[in-house]
């Protein structure tokens, strides 16, 4: 998925998780410091993305997951599921 499209998807899902408006979630926003998310909230967002896009995000090698852009990068780098 292109990075821009992934970023929009992440912003939308984050806004739902945080009960905030999409305009409050910027690409450079820090998940923890600015958006107040803990690791449980991040895990929930990742799974919400997986359900919506029917994929398994590649997380094992991800060291940095600090900003909205980092999350979008994970989604963008995950191959689309093979449809049968």
């Amino acid at each position: 998925m292109p990075q821009l499209e992934a970023r929009d998807a992440v912003v939308r899902v984050l806004a739902i998780e945080l009960k905030a408006s999409e305009s409050e979630v910027r690409a450079a926003s820090s998940l923890r410091k600015e958006l107040g998310m803990d690791s449980i909230a991040v895990a929930n967002v990742l799974y919400a993305l997986e359900e919506e896009y029917d994929c398994e995000l590649e997380l094992d090698g991800v060291v940095r997951l600090d900003t909205v852009e980092d999350l979008a990068g994970v989604l963008s780098n995950t191959p689309a599921p093979v449809s049968h």
Partner: protein
């Protein structure tokens, strides 16, 4: 990194050997009451997932209890640990005692999110220390959120171990001395259908009460046993 895994194995091996040597002399106090409370919970909350929680320092004594009594801490329960030194030592002891472990990879954000997501969505009952990585003796905010998301029946487990050796191994560790008494108290299940702050306070209070009950029960039953002897 390469030196850490062997260190955890060495410490884990030493702790397991010590526990196995001392275990036969440890007296379980109030096990019948704890098992009875647990059976009643299982009966009234049939088909629910359980989240048994305790202080970090109770971890090894609980494993010792589980190696002697198969009911409450039976093999259908998975103990959660992380990849800190203390966590890896715990995992090693668990493995050597034939118990199941659930790893949370705390070192990096991606794997941690993956592990937490799986833990939340699993239907497996788990045992977990609630003050891991400190501050010890306080229910962590993230644990309260985990309990809320797991939608499990959260049950506090209090223990009293006396006499005990207290060590600091990344986190606090309690080991029984030979002939020690281990008392376990199963607290009342916590209603998690509240906001996170209230839930955290309830979880804290629930564990404090269960720990206090273990202390009281230990004294009462020990005195009763002495009077009957």
């Amino acid at each position: 990194m390469a030196r850490r895994a062997p260190l955890a194995r060495v410490v884990g091996h030493a702790l397991r050997a010590y526990l196995q040597a001392v275990a036969p002399s440890v007296r379980l106090v109030g096990a019948e009451a704890a098992e009875s409370t647990w059976s009643e919970l299982r009966r009234t909350q049939a088909d629910r997932r359980f989240l048994l929680y305790y202080w970090t320092e109770a971890g090894l004594p609980l494993m010792l209890y589980g190696s002697r009594e198969e009911g409450l801490l039976g093999r259908d329960l998975a103990f959660v640990h992380d990849d800190t030194l203390g966590g890896r030592v715990t995992a090693d002891v668990l493995r050597r005692l034939g118990r199941r472990a659930w790893l949370l990879r705390h070192r990096h954000a991606g794997p941690l999110a993956r592990d937490l997501g799986r833990l939340i969505r699993s239907s497996e009952s788990i045992g977990i220390a609630v003050d891991g990585r400190g501050p010890y003796g306080h229910v962590g905010a993230e644990f309260a959120r985990l309990a809320e998301r797991c939608e499990a029946v959260s049950v506090p487990l209090g223990i009293r171990l006396t006499p005990a050796v207290r060590l600091r191994l990344a986190g606090p560790v309690q080991l029984p001395r030979a002939g020690a008494e281990l008392t376990l108290s199963v607290g009342a299940p916590i209603d998690c259908a509240v906001d996170s702050r209230t839930l955290r306070s309830r979880l804290q209070r629930g564990l404090e009460v269960a720990s206090s009950m273990a202390g009281t029960r230990s004294g009462v039953l020990t005195r009763a046993a002495s009077a009957g002897a």
